[in-house]
Symmetry: C2
Subunit: 381 residues, 2 copies
């Protein structure tokens, strides 16, 4: 079971394209990306990931995508697990293919967040993925992650300047990625001077509202379609209690840890073996906590990795060479599939200017809510 | 693999409950419905069906439902296939259980359509499930089904009064079902006098906007949980081209026919063997076309079945003893799961006043859009 093709629109803050245009573009693009050719009749499974129809105005997209691909035999559905929708879609495709229930899957994720006229309205839609008892308080994900940041800073002596380093790194990386939505160098000073959204998180600690779509094709006979497939060696999904208020320790994202442990175990590798990481830096604090949950650092020591440059593009363990959610962007339903597409290119040596040299093993981590769903995959050639 | 428990809220036009209240009610209700007891730790798969977050204001409901069930080990996701979301959720659970990928699944569907302040706004949300090129013309599902009705009437000499008979039958049935949203006797005259929504379809040809939620539990070890499980003997999903304008003959719903043929074949039975049917009468014309697609009547002769009373509660082939979407209601994400719950009760002899006597084999048909997704299941004790 391997990935045989991938295509992404450019991620943009406000795309001129409708969601429907994006679907047409990525379905055509991914079919053409398959070197030995793929026909609609080869596709027997279609999975679409989309956070909300309020971000694009489309419902019932599975038969639409099947029809665009001329996949007349395919069976399809849309899946949603908030910001982990893309990862969930890949996981379901992988699960069904692995079990022989389908042979070739087309997985598409999209989000047109600028469908909402203002950022405030878009953020209101995003907030619906929190616990209902958080929603009624008017909490936003920025305010929820701000609680995590505050707790982490108090517990482990991290400073706002440390969080800023994640933004600096990922924006630096995004400069090398033509797909990235915000290709702009950012300094610690820029981050520190940007306005507070929810203390201690500032504008430049947050990933942007983004439009974009991505598609990949997975096959149980990958060599039929390409000589250089990329394989999912292990993959897992895990949940945590939905409300931050329900958890004993909000400086951990337990679902991320559990999904990572399971995915690595299935793959039969350790995190130290991984050469390149794409992770869910929806907020700068998240990336630091993710380091710890993946086992790249001990509890409370994730902040050292960013201080010491370990996760820089040129560091020992490059994290988010694509620019991550922070610079590349976060078109929610597309995000997890975009990570898989990025690793597909990285592991085939096709990532261009942001290619991590000699990358053989990659890991993607995609989570939803404040980590109540997490999906982790380990990939290699 | 059998169904071991089921619970439904009462379907209502405007429930006082929030979507969140409904989820709590059905999760508690379904857990209690399992005779030998079920524990959260038994549940390892959670699937939620919901048409749109504009009908309830909740996103990321899978971890929420898992948490309500105290199913801490479960893996979950939400699925959407427009009005076939519920059927799709059951199909996915069945598929994963059958393949040994999960053991016990909690499947929940809900929709709070009155979350939209007006019927007009609710209908706008529903319309997003049409083909994008239909949406831009301002088409509603009533207008799209009106095209089907017009084509059917022209081709086969059916009259508006014939369509009305479906409403009369299903409202008569709904009188016997305490869960039904509209328990009111309706005559052909009532239907004929009701205002046109989109000629030839009148208000009483259309299923109502409804609030409701349903949950079922499926198990790969059903006898552990009940002595009287109900089994899914065959089940299938099929798609058609999404746009009515793309299809050679709009008096057929090809996906329904294909899904029914496949489900019956898997079950190893013929449609004539089925004792009780729950089908997707979102509009009266749909039920007549469904008769033909299921093989209960030849093409163009479905209308005879309703004229001759074959599908009455007291007829040879009772269709929609629950009242169907027309009288019981159509809380979209819940609908397909509600059909399965209804057949669970029918086949266990627990359907009370609307029990079809001696029913041993049941069939449910749930479709989305104008039939671009269809799900059919065959069930028995």
């Amino acid at each position: 079971m391997g990935i045989v093709g991938a295509y992404s629109t450019k991620y943009e803050l406000r795309s001129e394209k409708e969601a429907w245009d994006m679907l047409r573009e990525v379905v055509e693009g991914v079919m053409k990306s398959v070197e030995k050719g793929v026909d609609g009749s080869d596709i027997d499974l279609v999975i679409v990931a989309n956070f909300s129809d309020r971000f694009g105005g489309l419902i019932h997209t599975a038969p639409l995508v099947a029809s665009l691909a001329k996949a007349r035999r395919a069976k399809g559905l849309r899946v949603e697990n908030a910001c982990a929708s893309g990862g969930t879609a890949i996981l379901l495709a992988w699960t069904l293919l692995k079990s022989g229930l389908a042979r070739n899957a087309l997985v598409v994720g999209f989000e047109k967040m600028s469908y909402q006229p203002t950022a405030s309205e878009a953020n209101e839609v995003l907030s619906l993925a929190a616990h209902p008892d958080e929603i009624v308080t008017g909490a936003s994900f920025t305010s929820l992650y701000a609680l995590i940041a505050k707790a982490y800073m108090d517990a482990y002596g991290a400073r706002e300047e440390d969080l800023a380093l994640v933004a600096v790194k990922n924006h630096e990386n995004g400069l090398r990625n033509p797909l990235a939505a915000i290709r702009r160098k950012v300094t610690v000073e820029d981050v520190m001077k940007s306005p507070y959204i929810s203390w201690p998180l500032k504008l430049l600690d947050c990933s942007p509202l983004t439009d974009g779509a991505v598609a990949v094709i997975l096959s149980s006979e990958p060599r039929k379609f390409t000589d250089t497939p990329v394989y999912i060696r292990g993959m897992a999904l895990s949940h945590d209690l939905p409300g931050l208020f329900e958890r004993p320790d909000i400086t951990s994202l337990i679902a991320v840890r559990n999904a990572a442990e399971e995915a690595l175990r299935i793959a039969g590798v350790e995190v130290k073996d991984v050469d390149v990481f794409e992770v869910h830096d929806a907020f700068t604090i998240a990336e630091i906590v993710i380091y710890e949950m993946l086992g790249l650092a001990r509890k409370g020591e994730g902040v050292k990795l960013i201080r010491e440059g370990v996760t820089l593009f040129t560091g020992e363990k490059p994290v988010n060479p694509s620019g991550g959610l922070k610079s590349k962007g976060h078109p929610v339903g597309a995000t997890g599939i975009g990570m898989v597409a990025e690793l597909f290119w990285q592991l085939r040596g096709e990532a261009g200017e942001h290619q991590v040299k000699g990358a053989e093993l990659g890991l993607m981590e995609n989570h939803g809510g404040t980590g109540s769903t997490a999906v982790v995959a380990v990939l290699s050639r």
